[in-house]
């Protein structure tokens, strides 16, 4: 009976560790993907002289969390940075065609 309990406990433990490790791996993948995209888009925005300070902050927060192996937070910050960088590029591109409408004539 005690053998059975030990086996069942071991199986549960392996399952828990496996799930946690899978979740961390998924977060890490999400972080790396979002961080790479955000960095590329942020550089593109800078080429328009329009890098956003908040993107830089979000990228740094993502990196700091990843350095502490907190990939859940890292993924969250990296995805935030990605959204901000994407918006900064869209703003830059749209302004290229509309800024002249603001000129006083």
């Amino acid at each position: 009976m005690s053998k059975l309990i030990t086996v069942m406990a071991s199986v549960c433990l392996v399952a828990i560790i496996g799930t946690a490790s899978f979740a961390q791996s998924a977060d890490e993948t999400a972080y790396r993907k979002a961080y790479e995209t955000a960095t590329r888009l942020h550089q593109e925005a800078r080429s328009y002289q329009n890098g956003w300070t908040v993107t830089t902050v979000a990228l740094k927060s993502a990196k700091d969390a990843a350095d502490k192996n907190d990939f859940a937070s890292a993924a969250k910050f990296a995805q935030q940075a990605e959204a901000l960088a994407k918006a900064s590029v869209e703003q830059s591109k749209s302004q290229k065609s509309v800024w002249q409408q603001a000129v006083v004539k």
Binding site: N50, W52, Q95, A102
Partner: protein, 280 residues
């Protein structure tokens, strides 16, 4: 087939006109249109008073300013700048040797487009280039001694109308247009352009601040800002404005910032130099 051809022709004509319109930049027409629009909006403010920025827009602020001006906080900078300006470099030369009229009463002509090098030269750039040409290290761009030297030089131009020229050189016009585009382009997470505050909403409040029109802004530099607690150059102001709208500032004296200063100072033509000055 004929329809397709006609449609293509119409598109070509329309886009062609669009390109021509985009490329046709007329600084004199810009200046007239801009100054007229500001003066229509503020009919009771004289042209020279625009150099006093928000203090001309709000009666309460003007009273505060009159009290501040009994002991102007920039006076120390003028004194320091005067001394630095007159102190010889290690090789015995002085700043006066680098400038027309020995640097006295010339602020109203800066920035200018240097046709030899094909770019805009600001007063601060000329000050640091003078130092380097005489074997001295360049000064930091935004605060400190460079602001003091600039303050002293500006003080010798007080009352002289700003007179920025755009020479007959396509590169000068391109520099003007780069500055113009930067001024009117929205940027940063807050989606503001320079024009959002200083052309579209002068006289209105942004939180506690009364927004000054672009007309007169660059007549007053360098400035002592209470917010900073010290003097600052145009670079400091540009970077500070960018940061406020959550956009990254450019490096001081970046070519685009110089072009922006060129455009903006040209828009101030005719306003008398009042720098150095104080701001909230």
């Amino acid at each position: 087939m004929t329809r397709k051809f006609l449609a293509a022709l119409v598109v070509l004509v329309i886009t062609g006109r669009g390109v021509c319109a985009a490329e046709r930049v007329d600084p004199a027409a810009d200046l007239k249109a801009y100054q007229s629009s500001v003066q229509r909006e503020f009919p009771n403010v004289k042209l020279k008073d625009f150099a006093n920025g928000p203090y001309t827009m709000d009666e309460g602020m003007r009273r505060q300013w009159e009290e501040i001006m009994q002991f102007p906080p920039y006076d120390f900078a003028i004194e320091e700048g005067k001394e630095l300006f007159a102190t010889p470099f290690a090789n015995g030369k002085t700043y006066g040797d680098c400038f027309p009229n020995r640097g006295i009463g010339i602020r109203q002509n800066y920035p200018y487009f240097d046709t030899k090098r094909g770019e805009v030269v600001t007063l601060e750039l000329a000050i640091n280039e003078c130092r380097q040409a005489n074997g001295e290290k360049a000064l930091p761009w935004q605060v400190g001694k460079i602001a003091s030297i600039s303050a002293y030089m500006a003080s010798t131009s007080r009352g002289k109308p700003i007179d920025i020229r755009i020479p007959d050189d396509p590169r000068a016009l391109a520099a003007y247009n780069t500055g113009r585009e930067y001024y009117y382009t929205r940027r940063g997470q807050l989606n503001f352009s320079c024009a959002s505050c200083h052309t579209q909403n002068p006289g209105k409040r942004l939180r506690g601040d009364v927004l000054a029109p672009a007309l007169g802004i660059l007549a007053s530099f360098p400035i002592y800002r209470s917010e900073w607690g010290s003097m600052g150059t145009v670079d400091r102001r540009f970077i500070s404005c960018n940061t406020l709208v959550r956009a990254e500032g450019l490096p001081p004296q970046d070519i685009v910032y110089r072009d922006l200063e060129y455009f903006l100072t040209y828009m101030n033509n005719g306003v008398e130099v009042s720098g150095p000055a104080t701001r909230p």
